[in-house]
């Protein structure tokens, strides 16, 4: 008996706005309004300014290690456009700040976090975002769970989770995707393939030809998208979002983009990366093509650009000020968020840590006087 085909498929690649700012007339028609595009461009510009200022804050000792988001703004903003603020969940890693800001996270929070302050992760009530995730790949399982809960509670809520190409090598990714497929969780896996995991290029990360195809193993519909294309990202995410809402389960989106800066401020990409490659990708910068698109449509000019840049500078300056003018954190915070109710032994440590080598004796810390107040 001749061999039959057990399974066959293909991976689609989606591109709507090319690097010259030219929009595919069919796919791009009525996709985003002029206002949406202009607002997106403005937000993109502000976020780019934010990113560059953050780098300088680190270099001048005002902030700790910071992972720049430079070059990946379209992937974040395009996908976030398809999500509903306050209703859908965003479960990020750390390279999609632009999406988080659109979804209700105060802009200074991210700076606060990288300045070494846990209050940067104290997400405001009603904002459906999980904290920035430093260890790679561990948050995707949480996204699956959040989506699963929404489904069980019959909530109209979709969960978007972001991660990089490197994260797909972690076992947790496999488990998150597999679980999502089995329970048909209403979530969207957005892989920002920015070509590098610190110094490891995507060719060394996996033998798969695309990252999108990894989803096939879990029975999840998948697509590869030009990550620097705002329109394409929006379209792909919108389709995934609709599917999830209809109860058709998870979707995988590979956003092909590029990390224009170093992994973090503690890294030096020139050690392992070619400048020619970097230059080639600089030409594909999402900002450049979007500006060209707006200019071609007569919606933008140098004067508007100048005004926007000044506005962006002012906004970011204000945000930095807010972050830096936060009062010092309360030392007791080290202890008070360990449990809902602090156990006695931990309370003793908290109340005596400043006057004994380690919480040896409450009377020695003048506890009696405190209790009396």
């Amino acid at each position: 008996m001749p061999r039959t085909v057990a399974y066959k498929t293909q991976i689609q690649h989606l591109s709507v706005l090319d690097e010259n700012g030219k929009l595919d007339s069919k796919l791009g028609k009525d996709l985003l309004s002029d206002e949406q595009v202009q607002q997106s461009y403005e937000h993109m510009t502000v976020c780019r300014q934010y990113d560059e200022v953050a780098f300088k804050l680190q270099r001048s000792g005002r902030m700790g290690t910071f992972p720049q988001n430079k070059g990946q703004e379209a992937a974040a903003i395009g996908s976030a456009l398809a999500a509903r603020k306050g209703q859908d969940w965003l479960v990020p890693a750390y390279r999609e700040n632009a999406a988080l800001f659109m979804h209700g996270l105060p802009m200074h929070s991210v700076l606060t976090y990288w300045m070494g302050d846990e209050r940067g992760s104290q997400i405001p009530e009603g904002v459906k975002i999980t904290p920035l995730s430093v260890p790679i790949g561990t948050h995707m399982l949480h996204a699956t769970g959040i989506a699963w809960a929404a489904k069980m509670r019959k909530e109209d809520s979709v969960t978007l989770t972001y991660f990089g190409d490197g994260a797909t090598s972690e076992g947790d990714f496999h488990e998150a995707a597999n679980f999502a497929g089995v329970v048909q969780a209403p979530c969207i896996f957005i892989c920002q393939n920015n070509s590098w995991a610190i110094s490891v290029p995507r060719e060394k990360q996996t033998a798969s030809e695309t990252f999108a195809q990894k989803a096939l193993a879990y029975g999840i519909p998948t697509i590869q998208v030009d990550g620097n294309d705002l329109f394409a990202m929006y379209l792909a995410t919108k389709e995934a979002h609709d599917r999830a809402r209809k109860g058709e389960g998870p979707t995988f989106i590979e956003a092909v983009t590029y990390r224009l800066a170093d992994h973090t401020t503690a890294d030096d990409a020139s050690r392992y990366r070619d400048t020619s490659e970097l230059d080639a990708w600089k030409a594909k910068d999402p900002l450049i093509r979007l500006r060209k698109y707006l200019e071609n449509k007569g919606l933008w000019d140098d004067e508007k650009q100048e005004a926007l840049e000044a506005k962006a500078k002012a906004i970011v300056q204000e945000v930095v000020k807010t972050a830096e003018e936060m009062p010092k954190p309360d030392v007791n915070d080290i202890f008070d968020y360990t449990f809902a109710e602090i156990p006695e032994s931990l309370r003793v440590q908290r109340d005596t840590m400043r006057t004994t080598s380690l919480g040896q004796n409450p009377d020695q810390a003048g506890l009696g006087a405190r209790a009396a107040r």
Binding site: G64, T65, Y113, W114, M115, G116, D117, E118, V134, P135, I136, G137, T138, G166, A167, S169, E170, G171, D172, A197, I198, S199, V200, K204, Q205, T206, A266, D267, R271, Y272, K328, P329, V331, D333, I334, F335, T338, S345, L346, Q349, R350, M353, T356, S357, L358, G359, Q360
Partner: protein, 324 residues
């Protein structure tokens, strides 16, 4: 004989051992082309090639799991976990397989691997980049745990670890990576696993610690009055511990202060205090004092310094114990 810091001495040890023994290989995230995020493996890939210095996919479980296989089949792998906070996925492989394989097979299959892990706080790094899990791995059977505090000890202990027929977790106190230099001999030497070092001899009190807090303890000693005589011991090996040295010391001084960055509950301080209570009972002049991190998450860097057991707290503990 050069003055090297911790990064350089570990780099030297790896280079020398890879030269000496073909079976030794280094694997981990960003260890090859990039030379490691702290540059500890700098230049090794260029010298020994991509086969022996491997930039792996991003997967700690994968790195440790494949290392177990490599070690059981004739190689001497030295995998790296980029930070101690990322050991999570690898934990299963280390404690349930690397540490148990010899027993499981009654010696037929063994795992001579050495996993290198930067640990400890004090460098203002993000979350999960500042922890100290030495107690966890010491508690699990079949695994040796070491933590050198100086460049000289680091080279000696690393060579001993690579040559050890059993799995060794080699913790590197990242706070010390670049902050201290000393002469490190070029020639081949090892520091025996299971041997503590007495850094200063004394009569009044024994201070026991390891890793970056060794330097904090030294700073505390400098601030004590002239007539206070402190015996400072750097454990160097966490498991199997050098009980003889610490017991002899505390039998002499009768007082002891234990210092570690890791959280207090079930930290190695608890284990050492019990050993001292068992073996020095009739010599004790005061209860054994522990100076440790709190039973909380290590704070991000705005509050980090409140957590770390540094010279002032160590000094105070010494004073308390002497006044008992």
């Amino acid at each position: 004989m050069a003055e090297l810091n911790l990064v350089q001495s570990i780099n030297l040890a790896l280079a020398q051992e890879m030269e000496r023994d073909d079976r030794v290989m280094v694997l981990g995230e960003d260890v090859g082309l990039n030379g490691g995020v702290f540059r500890v493996t700098d230049g090794l890939q260029k010298r020994f090639g991509e086969d022996r210095v491997v930039d792996t996919p991003l997967a700690e479980s994968g790195i440790l799991g494949t290392s177990i296989g490599l070690a059981s089949n004739g190689m001497l792998p030295v995998p790296e976990s980029q930070f101690e906070g990322f050991l999570g996925p690898a934990y299963d492989q280390i404690v349930h397989h690397a540490g148990r394989m010899r027993n499981r097979t009654r010696g037929a299959v063994t795992v001579p691997l050495t996993v290198r892990v930067p640990v400890g706080g004090g460098i203002h790094a993000p979350e999960l980049h500042s922890d100290s899990p030495e107690a966890i791995y010491s508690h699990h059977v079949g695994v040796k745990v070491v933590m050198p505090s100086t460049p000289y000890d680091a080279k000696g202990l690393l060579l001993a670890a690579i040559r050890d027929p059993d799995p060794v977790v080699f913790f590197e106190p990242k706070r010390v990576y670049r902050s201290y230099k000393e002469h490190v001999p070029e020639d081949d030497y090892t520091v025996e696993i299971g041997e503590a070092k007495v850094l200063s001899e004394g009569e009044d009190v024994t201070v026991i610690t390891w890793g970056a807090t060794v330097f904090q303890a030294l700073a505390a000693l400098d601030e004590l009055p002239e007539d206070v005589s402190v015996e400072l011991i750097d454990m160097r090996t966490i498991y199997p511990m050098d009980e003889d040295t610490i017991v002899e010391s505390v039998q002499k001084t009768g007082r002891c202060v234990l210092v570690h960055e890791a959280a207090r509950t079930a930290g190695m301080g608890a284990e050492i205090a019990t050993i001292l209570q068992e073996k020095c009972f009739l010599h004790l002049e005061a209860p054994v004092q522990r100076v440790t991190g709190f039973d909380t998450v290590m704070p991000y860097y705005k509050l980090e310094n409140h957590y770390l057991p540094e010279a002032p707290r160590i000094k105070e503990a010494i004073a308390q114990v002497l006044a008992y």
